[in-house]
Structures are given as C-alpha cells and as structure tokens.
Amino acid sequence: MIALEQQLKQLVQETCQHPHGSIARQRALTSLIRLINRSQKLWKDSSTYYEDALQLTWLYFCRNLCEAITAKSAYDSDRSNVITWMNAYLKRRLQDMYIENQQQQLQHVLEEGEDRKITDQIVDRIIAPPQPSNLLDQVRQWVESDKTKVLQRTYIRDRADVNAQVLILRRLPPESSWQILAQEFALPVSTLSSFYQRKCIPLLKEFYEQQRVA
C-alpha cells in the first residue's frame, strides 16, 4: 500500500512538471489513469449511473490535477492522496445523480401518459436530428432513380460498369462483401473501396443535404 501511494505521488509530481496540453503531460496522465485503475481503490457501486459519475470524475481529474481549470482549487498533494480526492468528487456526483434520478422517477409517475423517457431528451441533444426509420429505403430509391445521372456518371477509370449507382446499391445492407464484388468486377478490393470512400460517400452526403433542405 505504501509503495502504491509513493508511486502515485511521484507520478502526480512528474505529470505536473509538464505544461498543460503538452504531449509529455498527456503521456503521464495516461500512465496515471492506468495506475489508479490498477489500484482498484476507486469507489465502486452498482448504480445504473455509476459510469456516468465516473466519467465526470475522470474529466475532473484531468482538468484539475495540476491547475484548477474547472474546480475552485487544484489537487493539493499535502491535503490528501489523489485517489481520496477523486473518490470525494465521485461520491458527490453519485449523490447528485441519485437525487436527480429520484426526482425523475417521481415526475415519471406523476406525468400520466407521458411516454417520453429522460434519456430521449439527452439523446436528442447529442445526436443528429432523428431520421425517418425508412431512411434506408429513401436512399435506395434515390440511388435507383439517379435522376441527374450523377451516380452513373461517376465511375472507376475506364470502367463505366463500376459506377457509384451500382456500387452503392450493392453495399446497401444487406451488403455484398468486398471480396465478392472484387471477384465479380475483377478489380482489387482496395480499388473498389477507395472509389467508394472517395467518390461514393461524398455523393451520399450530398443526397442527405438535399433531402434536408427539401
């Protein structure tokens, strides 16, 4: 135990010798995270939101170990060992989340007929706007109709038969494997996939943009 504390103290000191954002700081921080994980001394419980609290704790750790970036004061090695410091923060976050969870459970019960789960709200904030579940069908329709012929006209050099329309249709789920396509078209996988990555995917993105504006 004493050996671990010493190791931690040393590694913390070393980490903070390097400027914030420097590659040396990033490497030392990564080593520290490994050491702390290995120690198994971080508080653990089985609440559903445990990992959410732990994720916040790691961020807090990285941002305030050496300088106070989001906290009122940085970690002070004279006051406690680093894991104790982290556990204090972790437990506070778990407490916050417990309370929030309780309140939401209550609200959930009170709001009759309200089917919306809390997580949907979070999902909407982070995720791209929800898409119609028939997006795959829409894409397929667009590729098949190819009104402007741009898909047919985009093809691998000297191989008009291997064009964006053909390839995208084959790669829409359930997709044909690259090996099968390579055999069929007698072209190396890398030629096909490079064409797909560099020419076909941008066309798909364009299609989506046009859909959104429409």
Binding site: I33, D52, L54, L204, K205
Partner: protein
C-alpha cells in the same frame, strides 16, 4: 515490447452513451447493421472521452460515423479530431486476437484504435493504436500504447502549423489545366523580378532546356522562386512543376529543382514528395555536381501530396491537390 496485458487503458461507458448507441441501433431493421452501429457508436464515444480528457477537441457532428446516411452505407467508426483528421475507432469482442478493419476505412485516416468492450458494455479497454493498416485485420500485438495516439496528433498538428507558417494555400493542379494558376506560380520567364535581373540568364537557360525536353504539347509548366539555407547569402532556387493530363482522371507530374543564384545545386539538398498522410513517397537528393533534380510521378484527381525541399535544417513545404 507490445504487452497488451499491461498497456491497455480502462474507461467507463456511461449509461447515457449506452442509451445513445441503443437508440441509433434501434432505428435499423437488420440486426447485423444494428449491432455494427451500436458498437461503432460506442467506440467513437469512448475515444471522444479519452481525447477530451487529454484536452484534444473532437467533432462528432462532422464525423461520418455520426452521419445518418453514411453510417448505414458504410462500416465507418471515425472520430473527427479538429484540425487534424479522422481517427478510426474499431472494436473487438472478448477473446478475439485480431481486429477487423473494413476496406472502406483504409484511406483518409490519421490512425486506428482498437477498443474492447466488457460484455455488459459498462466499460471499455482501449487496447492501442496504429497509424496505418494494410489489410483487413490488425493483429493485437501490433498495437502501440494509446498514448502514441497523442504523439501522432501532436506531430500532425506541428507539421500542419509549419505548413500554415509558410502561408501558402494548397496548390490545385487540375485548376492549372483550366488556366487558373495559384499566386506565386509563374511561367519560368516571369519568375524573376526586376531586382533579380542578374539571374535572368539562368531562367532563360532553364526555360530553354525544359522546352527542348517538351514531349507533350499539352504540358503546362509553372514555377516558384524561393530561398533556402542557413548561411547567408541563402541559395535562390526554383521549383518547377510540369503537368499534363493522363487519361480521364490522372495527371502526370514532373517536379524539377533548379539553382538560380549558383550554377549547381547545393550538395545534399533534398527534394521529397510526401503523400497526404505525411509519408515519404519519392525522394531526390543532389550529389556534388548536379545542376538540377527531377522527380516524376502521376496521380489521380483529388489526391493530395506535399513537396518538401530541405537543406540543412531549412525546408520549404508546398501542398498540392491534384
């Protein structure tokens, strides 16, 4: 050296992230696609967390793995690192010793990381990082510790800053075919300004010798003038690019380096062509009595490359897109 057992990094996967992944997956009717989306989404989110902890900004919104259409049409798990490029975040199951990397992500990536999820998806192990892949499988014992990702990012940031420092825009060669030339790139006869008229005989000579070699009347030639060297006076040099179309989508490129202030190139000056990942692709070096260096290659429209001319510690870097 590569001890996966010791070098992995464990990070938690929040309930919030698990919900996002499940939600993305649930929109898919085909189970294989749903499973793939779930894993790719989680891997990208975990790497986003690690990089956030390291103070490196990422952009989920501009990542293809976050794009509603692209992620259905391709097995992509990229995370856009702001100002740097895309990191591919692949995942494996417990017990696998190789990681599958689909062909559609073999290009345009600054590197690849492998993530292993706990069965309950509540935590992940970042197993390691490689800069390039050449086949569909990465052997786990090839992986470097995850901090090498930070080093790769730092190196890319530095080199892009160097390029920015030389304040040149990316030269677009296919524009040359439409008679649109980037500033600074002149016809050989117009390279020198009035203060450099003492060297006019040099540009005349070079122009004449290049025209004698003209094999293809479709060739377009432009050059830039620049100084290089640590001692004063510095060497005045010309970098000349001669291009001609080849087939529908390719361009033949010949790069020539000529001395202007001297008759011969400084010894050991190097002309290097780098691919868009920054790897050396072609190189020419002056020997003691060379009066020019030539490098020839061809590339497809849209490809990017850089040229670096170095002497001692001094370099000129020019970025091109074909």
């Amino acid at each position: 050296m590569n001890n996966i057992e010791e070098n992995f990094l464990s990070l938690p996967i929040s309930n919030q992230y698990r919900d996002i992944a499940r939600s993305v997956a649930s929109q898919q009717l085909l189970p294989e696609v749903a499973e793939r989306l779930k894993r790719n989404t989680l891997a990208v989110l975990v790497m986003h967390d690690y990089l956030e902890m390291m103070g490196i900004s990422t952009s989920l919104q501009t990542s293809d793995s976050w794009h509603p259409v692209v992620r259905i049409c391709a097995d992509v798990a990229d995370l856009e690192i702001e100002g740097i490029g895309k990191l591919e975040c692949r995942s494996i199951q417990l017990g696998e010793s190789t990681c599958y990397v689909p062909p559609e992500v073999w290009e345009d990536r600054i590197g690849y990381v492998v993530v292993q999820f706990e069965e309950n998806l509540r935590s992940a192990r970042l197993l390691g990082f490689v800069k390039q892949v050449s086949t569909e499988f990465i052997a786990l014992n090839r992986l470097e510790p995850i901090e090498n990702l930070c080093m790769a990012i730092a190196a890319l940031r530095e080199s892009s800053q160097q390029n920015f420092g030389s304040n040149k825009a990316i030269v677009s060669l296919s524009n040359w075919l439409q008679n649109l030339f980037d500033s600074g790139w002149e016809e050989i006869e117009n390279l020198l300004d009035s203060k450099q008229s003492q060297y006019a005989y040099r540009t005349k000579e070079i122009s004449k010798s290049l025209r004698n070699n003209l094999t293809n009347s479709e060739e377009i030639r432009r050059g830039i003038l620049f100084e290089l060297g640590v001692t004063t006076p510095k060497y005045l040099l010309a970098l000349i690019a001669t291009i001609s179309p080849k087939g529908q989508n390719e361009i033949d490129i010949r790069l020539s380096l000529y001395p202007i202030s001297e008759a011969f190139l400084p010894e050991l000056i190097e002309l290097v062509v780098l691919d868009d990942a920054g790897n050396e692709f072609l190189k020419g070096q002056a020997r003691s009595v060379d009066n020019y260096i030539n490098i020839q290659f061809s590339g497809s429209i849209g490809e990017r490359f850089s040229i670096r001319v170095s002497l001692d510690d001094n370099s000129l870097i020019e970025n091109f897109t074909i």
